[in-house]
C-alpha cells in the first residue's frame, strides 16, 4: 500500500529532536499499550507481527503522524481487538469519555467491516524457514526492484521501488510479510540484503539550479535494504558498488 507510514525520503517532517536521559517509557500509558499488545496477541486478536504492523499502517494518517509510537500501537491494537470481535468500538469510545476524553478527539483505529482472515497460526515463533528451492540471486548480482507492490502490507518502501541495486548478502528463507499479514500463509521467500547508491534512490533533480545543490548528489552514500525475492528481477546493467 502507499500509506502514510512509508516515510523514507519524504519531505517536510522537520528536525530530529533528541532528548537527554530519555526513559524507556515517557508515561505509564505507553507501557500499558505495550502490555495490551502482548495481551491481544495472547488472546488471538492477531497471530503474527506482520498483521500487527499492517494494522498500524491502517490507522488514521493524522494520528499516525501525531500520536507517537505508542499512540500508533494503540490504534493498531484497537483495530485488531475490534476486528477479532473481542471488544467493540463503542465500548472503547464510551469508556474513553468516562476517562475524560473529548468527543472530538481524533481516533486512530480503523477497524475494517470485513477483516482479512486470520490464517493459520505460525509454524513457529521465528521467521526464518528452510526452503528447498535454491536462491535465485547471489552476492554481487545486480537486481531491479518492483515498481508495483501488493495492495496491502509490503516491506518494499516506495523510495526503493523501480531501482537497481546489488545483492550483498543472502539470508535463506523467511516468512513473507506480504501474504502473512493478510492470512494468506507464510509463503516463505529467499531474503537478500541489497545495497543501492544514494544517487540511484534519490537522483539529482531534472532542473536543479546550480546554486541549490541537493544533498542527494552526495556520491558517497549507500543505502542497504533487506528485500524478499518476489520484489526483485535480474538487472543487466547498473552502477556496481
Amino acid at each position: 500500500m502507499d500509506g502514510i507510514h512509508d516515510l523514507g525520503g519524504k519531505h517536510g517532517h522537520g528536525h530530529v529532536r533528541q532528548e537527554s536521559s530519555e526513559p524507556a517509557f515517557h508515561a505509564r500509558w505507553e507501557a500499558a499499550v505495550f502490555a495490551m499488545v502482548n495481551a491481544a496477541a495472547a488472546s488471538g486478536a492477531f497471530k503474527n507481527t506482520d498483521r500487527f504492523r499492517h494494522a498500524i499502517e491502517r490507522i488514521d494518517p493524522v494520528a499516525y503522524l501525531s500520536h507517537g509510537y505508542y499512540g500508533r500501537w494503540l490504534g493498531g491494537v484497537e483495530t485488531l481487538l475490534v476486528e477479532a470481535g473481542l471488544i467493540t468500538t463503542d465500548e472503547i469510545s464510551r469508556k474513553a469519555l468516562e476517562h475524560g476524553a473529548d468527543a472530538s478527539d481524533l481516533i486512530a483505529a480503523r477497524p475494517g467491516l470485513v477483516p482479512d482472515p486470520q490464517g493459520d497460526p505460525p509454524v513457529n515463533s521465528m521467521s526464518d524457514r528452510s526452503l528447498n528451492r535454491p536462491a535465485r540471486y547471489k552476492p554481487g548480482d545486480l537486481v531491479r526492484t518492483a515498481t508495483v507492490v501488493q495492495s496491502g502490507h509490503t516491506r518494499l518502501p516506495a523510495y526503493a521501488r523501480g531501482k537497481i541495486g546489488q545483492v550483498i548478502d543472502v539470508h535463506g528463507g523467511w516468512v513473507y510479510p506480504d501474504t502473512n499479514a493478510h492470512g494468506r500463509g507464510e509463503q516463505p521467500q529467499h531474503l537478500y540484503t541489497v545495497a543501492f547508491t544514494g544517487s540511484e534512490l534519490f537522483p539529482a533533480p531534472i532542473d536543479a539550479a546550480d546554486d541549490q545543490p541537493e544533498s542527494s548528489q552526495d556520491q558517497n552514500i549507500r543505502v542497504c535494504l533487506d528485500l524478499f525475492e518476489p520484489y526483485l528481477t535480474p538487472a543487466t546493467s547498473g552502477a556496481r558498488l
Binding site: 516515510l7 522537520g14 530530529v16 499512540g71 543505502v223 528485500l227
Partner: protein
C-alpha cells in the same frame, strides 16, 4: 481555565489507552501485573548496556570481534539477552572510511535485545524520512559532522534482520579494561548517529 489546562496534560491517546486498559482488565484479557512487568523489563533489564558489553568485548577480543561481525546472532546467543526482536543480528563495523547508521523507515524496527527500546526520535517521522535521503546533512544536524570522503552506509531494517553498529574505539581508551570500556559506549554510537 485551570480545569481546561488540567485536562490537556493528558494527550487524547493517553486517555484512550487508559480506557482500553480498564476495559481489557474488566474482560479478563489483561492483568495489571503485565504492565508492571513491561516497565521493569524494559526499564531495567533490557537496554543499551547489553550492546555496550558486546562492543567492549569486541574491542578487547579479536576472535570475538570477528565472530560478532561474521555471525552476530550466534555471537550474542551465549549472553542470553532477553527482549525479543533480534531473530537475526547483523553487526556492522565502522572504519576510518565507512560510517554505518541504522533506521527503519516503514515502522521502527530496532534490536531490542541489544539496545533496549528505541529513543523517541528513532521512531518519529523526521528521522525515518530524512536519514535515507540526506544522511550526511541529518547526521550533521544531530551533532555528527562527517567529512565528505567518509562513505555513509544506511541500513534500513525492512525485514526481520536487526542491525547494530560497532563503533570505532576511541584512541585514548586503548588499554582500558572491558568494564571501563563498557562505560564509554553510548546507545547513539550503536545506532550510528554518534561516534565515540
Amino acid at each position: 481555565m485551570s480545569n481546561h489546562e488540567h485536562e490537556h496534560q493528558q494527550p487524547p491517546q493517553a486517555i484512550r489507552a487508559e480506557a482500553l486498559e480498564s476495559l481489557l482488565i474488566e474482560k479478563g484479557l489483561l492483568t495489571p501485573d503485565a504492565i508492571d512487568e513491561v516497565i521493569i523489563r524494559y526499564g531495567e533489564r533490557v537496554g543499551p548496556l547489553n550492546g555496550a558489553r558486546l562492543v567492549a568485548k569486541a574491542w578487547c577480543d579479536p576472535v570475538f570481534r570477528q565472530q560478532l561481525l561474521e555471525d552476530g546472532t550466534s555471537a550474542v546467543a551465549d549472553f542470553n539477552f532477553e527482549g525479543g526482536q533480534v531473530e537475526k543480528l547483523v553487526v556492522v563495523a565502522n572504519t576510518e572510511q565507512i560510517h554505518n547508521v541504522v533506521v527503519c523507515t516503514l515502522c521502527s524496527c530496532y534490536p531490542w535485545a541489544v539496545l533496549g527500546l528505541p529513543p523517541k526520535w528513532y521512531k518519529d517521522p523526521a528521522y525515518r524520512s530524512r536519514i535515507v535521503r540526506e544522511p550526511r546533512v541529518l547526521l550533521a544536524e544531530m551533532g555528527l559532522a562527517l567529512a565528505p570522503d567518509i562513505e555513509i552506509r544506511v541500513w534500513d531494517s525492512s525485514a526481520e534482520i536487526r542491525y547494530m553498529v560497532l563503533p570505532l574505539q576511541p584512541g585514548e581508551s586503548v588499554g582500558e579494561d572491558e568494564a571501563q570500556l563498557v562505560e564509554r559506549v553510548t546507545r547513539d554510537s550503536m545506532i550510528g548517529v554518534a561516534v565515540l
